[in-house]
């Protein structure tokens, strides 16, 4: 039974993605009988390449994915190098989970309101410093270069990369490495960068790739912050799929295939940059320079991540203010009056989506955790090296959602699987499982094997040892993985909407539908609810081990 787990996981993840891609590939090359497309043709591609601004759309998608990931990664790395053991380090570690829990769209809305010419920052300075009685007519949000999109993406990627790094660091025996480097006279930040980073990067490489894939194809953040003339490729694709002129589906499908190409090209480009960096830094790593750049690196490392965390929090505060705001116009820093109206009107509509969200999140995360545990336990019992085929796990993270979900509906409908709760849960599993695996695998593998040897020498069966020794010892990472899974599930929009045909409403589908009405006060209410749910998950994940594990604490240390 256990031996089947890895194969089962891969089938569960690869089949839907593959089926979805095939059903998009066919219309991309002209085959869609329902619209009269009976033979292969390149017409969809010709139509696509004739779209004005396509090259720019592609360029912005490609560049914003790479640049935002590079920024986020650099912030995280320099922070870890420069802040070790400081109060800042402890503070940010506590903040990272809540930051991860804020959904993308919520961050985007909050961030847009922060930096817009009529936004919070401009209000803080107006009219006293700027003299502005009216907001200036400046193009900041939706700038044609995608700079505000890049900044927004970096804000959201930073906590994820930080959490993944924090999860990987303990196995690197950082203290010993640093002690050695310090004793050779290296300054603290440089010691970390030269001795820890080269071993850390391979461990967080897959998460980095997942971030790039996500950022090149993101829809919700690009809609809010991204350029408009033309928009990013992913935004164009969505509008073509939903175009009243349904013959555009051919071109939309071709564009979805192009999106896959853009994402793969960005990944390839990143890989080349990795090789280049390795070459260029080889000398620096071993040149024996112990101090140069220490102060600058330390300053940047401490301030950049702090600044971005504060920005994300300020964005959230802006949303909170709006959810309570009466009339509130530029340049007033605070609303003229506060009211609970928006919350009261939303409250009755919150119940069902909240229940659905919790049910889908718990079910998909529980399934994902069980499957991941089975795979890891199997690996351990068979003394296997991590299977190479397991990279397939990341397929749903690498292939853009927009490239295969539209096809997946057709595939499911063809098999007679109708939209319903079960299908939505299965769809969420696609995205939750890889993240649970990412969060849990390293902790699982590095658990000291002697605990289990001791257990078996005491005559405990392997199954009993799993339940009574391994799981309790892994409670903390297990709960973190569970909380990450919940957060991922709660944030899913397209899979929920498409696989549930809109019948299965979650907090996120309701929030997106309401967001199309652009009422910022309601957006504030729903975004806070959306962010609050995973936050509860993370808080439980932190609190539960302390409550449950009190009597085992002596064991763990």
């Amino acid at each position: 039974m256990l031996r089947l787990a890895p194969a089962l996981i891969i089938t569960l993840l690869v089949l839907p993605v593959g089926a979805g891609l095939v059903m998009v590939m066919l219309p991309a090359f002209g085959y869609l009988p329902v619209l009269g497309g009976h033979e292969a043709s390149l017409a969809p591609w010709q139509a696509l390449f004739a779209q004005p601004g396509l090259a720019r759309s592609v360029a912005v998608s490609f560049a914003s994915g790479l640049v935002s990931t590079a920024m986020a990664l650099m912030m995280v790395v320099l922070f870890l190098a420069a802040s070790r053991g400081t109060w800042l380090d402890r503070g940010i570690r506590r903040l990272v989970s809540p930051l991860l829990a804020i959904p993308h769209a919520a961050i985007a809305f909050g961030f847009a309101f922060l930096i817009a010419p009529s936004g919070l920052v401009a209000r803080l300075l107006s009219p006293s410093l700027t003299g502005w009685e009216r907001p200036p007519d400046a193009l900041i949000v939706n700038d044609p270069w995608g700079l505000s999109l890049i900044a927004g993406l970096a804000l959201k990627e930073m906590p994820f990369l930080l959490l993944m790094s924090l999860a990987a660091l303990p196995q690197l025996q950082v203290d010993k490495r640093l002690m050695l480097a310090r004793s050779l006279g290296y300054s603290p930040t440089l010691a970390w960068l030269k001795t820890v980073l080269p071993s850390l990067y391979p461990l967080i490489r897959l998460p980095v790739y997942a971030v790039i894939a996500y950022a090149t194809s993101v829809v919700d953040m690009a809609l809010i912050l991204g350029p408009t003339l033309p928009p990013t490729l992913s935004v164009s694709i969505l509008s073509w799929f939903n175009d009243p002129d349904i013959t555009r589906r051919f071109m939309a499908s071709a564009a979805a295939v192009l999106q896959l190409g853009v994402t793969l090209a960005a990944l390839l480009c990143w890989w080349l940059l990795e090789q280049l960096t390795r070459l260029l830094t080889r000398n620096w790593l071993t040149n024996g320079s112990r101090q140069r750049g220490e102060i600058a690196l330390r300053m940047v490392g401490r301030s950049a991540l702090l600044l971005s965390s504060m920005t994300a929090l300020a964005a959230l505060v802006g949303l909170g203010l709006f959810s309570l705001a009466g009339f509130w116009r530029f340049p007033e820093l605070l609303p003229q009056m506060l009211t609970l109206d928006h919350w009261q009107r939303s409250a009755p509509m919150l119940v069902k989506p909240l229940l659905n969200t919790a049910l889908i999140g718990l079910a998909s995360t529980a399934l994902a955790t069980a499957l991941v545990l089975a795979t890891l336990e199997n690996e351990h019992r068979q003394h296997l090296q991590p299977k190479r085929a397991l990279w397939l796990l990341y397929l749903p993270l690498i292939v853009p959602q927009i490239a295969f979900l539209f096809g997946l509906i057709v595939a499911a409908e063809s098999l007679g699987i109708r939209p319903q709760l079960g299908l939505v849960i299965a769809g969420h599993l696609l995205f939750v499982l890889p993240y649970v695996y990412l969060s849990l695998a390293e902790a699982y593998r590095r658990l000291d094997p002697r605990w289990l040897q001791v257990a078996s020498s005491l005559g405990v069966s392997r199954n009993a040892a799993f339940w009574r020794v391994r799981l309790p010892l892994l409670l903390a990472p297990l709960l973190t993985a569970f909380a990450v899974g919940l957060a991922i599930s709660i944030g899913q929009y397209l899979p929920t909407q498409l696989l549930g045909a809109g019948r299965v409403t979650t907090v996120t589908t309701e929030a997106v539908a309401l967001a199309s009405g652009n009422n910022r006060r309601l957006i504030g209410v729903w975004a806070l609810v959306q962010a609050g749910l995973p936050l509860i998950g993370f808080m439980l994940a932190l609190a539960l081990p302390r409550l449950l594990g009190a009597k085992r604490r002596a064991l763990a240390t």
């Binding site: 004005p52 601004g53 002129d245 109206d341 063809s414 319903q420 299908l423 045909a501 199309s516 009405g517």
Partner: protein, 406 residues
């Protein structure tokens, strides 16, 4: 394991669905009693744009009434884009799902209706057979059976009326521009304070049509398919106008708001001084919900503005057509239409010929005092009809070609 379990759930629920559904042919709307009986106990999935809390609240009220009066369960599937419902029905047809679709009723008009009709994605004709349809007095009010110049032929049932309505802050501006040329002159004097939603947005496209009707002297051509007209010649004045207007728009026309509702948010932020909406009561509602200052006033351009009727339609593969028809009929009842028109509920205008109703029904439509931000009652008489739907697509493509890349 998970796979099996999900598969099992799917199989069980499909079997249950199949058992619950009568395998009989589509219900005939002419036998209304039979439709009512068949509808009992059905759940109607009504796909309707969900971006407006007032519309949502009205649909909730409708659901309560339907449950109480007809034992029909109405589930509002909130869309962020009606096109996604069209795409869904198309995907189901592509997959061969011809009788168990996931959508029972769609809030629709214009291009989306034309596309669904053209691809045989709609059930009908049913609308003219609805008992309450007679109250629209369609012979005298052809707009309730005409959608963007296309005859509806009973494939959709009228629900409400919309018309382009401008609004401005009377505290900042005394006399708002009354036609397109005045708008240009005003924008030149007040740069950066007006814009329209980015094409292909629905409201933005409507602004293009509004400007075209006013600027072109070949209006007849607009009511025929675009293929029959000299597109370049007819639209030439429009592009000249936009070339002149764009540098004076918000952000100098380098970006555009992403949707109609976004214009309201920008008004609220004080970035714009003049905006427009498809819903005549939009500004008054926004004042009530703290989004706009109380000094906001609504008006219609002197030469009239574009208006249209919005409808509900039933997809060809809906498994609950009887329930959907009962719902469409209820939406046409004086009770439901009056509730919809009241400003405290939604403020969407009625499609019924109110003067033809009996006195009791007419009394339902009497409202209290008008909201000062609302349009005067007589302002909406000057309605320009929508051009042929093919013009919308052609204008959108031409706009994107000219202004889509900056």
């Amino acid at each position: 394991m998970a796979n099996n379990r999900n598969g099992l759930v799917a199989t069980i629920s499909i079997t249950m669905l199949a058992l619950a559904l009568p395998a009989a042919a589509d219900p005939a709307p002419s036998n209304w009693q039979a439709v009512l009986e068949e509808a009992e106990g059905q759940t109607v999935y009504w796909n309707a744009w969900g971006g407006d809390t007032r519309t949502n609240r009205y649909i909730d009220w409708v659901a309560e009434q339907m449950q109480a009066q007809y034992d029909v369960d109405v589930a509002h599937v909130k869309l962020d884009d009606t096109g996604s419902a069209v795409a869904r029905v198309l995907a189901e047809k592509q997959a061969g799902n011809h009788d168990d679709g996931s959508i029972d009723l769609i809030w629709i008009n214009g291009e989306n209706f034309a596309a669904m009709r053209e691809n045989d994605l709609l059930f009908g004709p049913f609308a003219n057979a609805l008992p309450n349809f007679a109250l629209t007095n369609a012979d005298e009010n052809p707009e309730v059976v005409t959608d963007f110049t296309l005859p509806t032929e009973g494939y959709e049932s009228p629900w409400g009326k919309a018309q382009i309505t401008f609004y401005y802050d009377s505290a900042q501006m005394e006399t708002p521009p009354q036609d397109m040329q005045a708008l240009l002159a005003w924008a030149q004097d007040n740069p950066g304070q007006f814009s329209y939603p980015r094409i292909p947005d629905f409201t933005g496209s409507t602004f293009l049509k509004q400007a075209l009707i006013e600027l072109s002297d070949q209006d007849e051509a607009l009511y025929q398919p675009v293929e029959d007209a000299d597109f370049e010649a007819v639209t030439e004045p429009l592009w000249t106008y936009l070339d002149a207007l764009h540098p004076h728009l918000w952000r100098s026309g380098r970006t555009f708001p992403d949707s109609g509702p976004n214009l309201r948010t920008l008004m609220s932020d004080g970035e714009l001084s003049l905006a427009f909406s498809f819903y005549p009561t939009d500004a008054a509602v926004a004042v009530k919900e703290y989004e706009l200052p109380e000094s906001v006033r609504s008006y219609v351009l002197e030469g009239g503005t574009l208006g249209n009727v919005h409808f509900v339609a039933i997809p060809y593969n809906s498994p609950h057509k009887a329930g959907a028809m009962v719902l469409a009929n209820f939406l046409l009842s004086p009770e439901a239409q009056a509730e919809k028109q009241s400003l405290t509920m939604w403020g969407d205008r009625s499609v019924l010929d109110i003067e033809q109703l009996d006195a009791d029904a007419q009394a339902l439509f009497e409202q209290g005092e008008r909201h000062p931000s609302e349009l005067p009652a007589d302002a909406l008489s000057n309605t320009l009809p929508e051009p042929h739907p093919s013009w919308m697509t052609a204008l959108q493509d031409a706009w994107l070609e000219r202004y889509g890349v900056n």
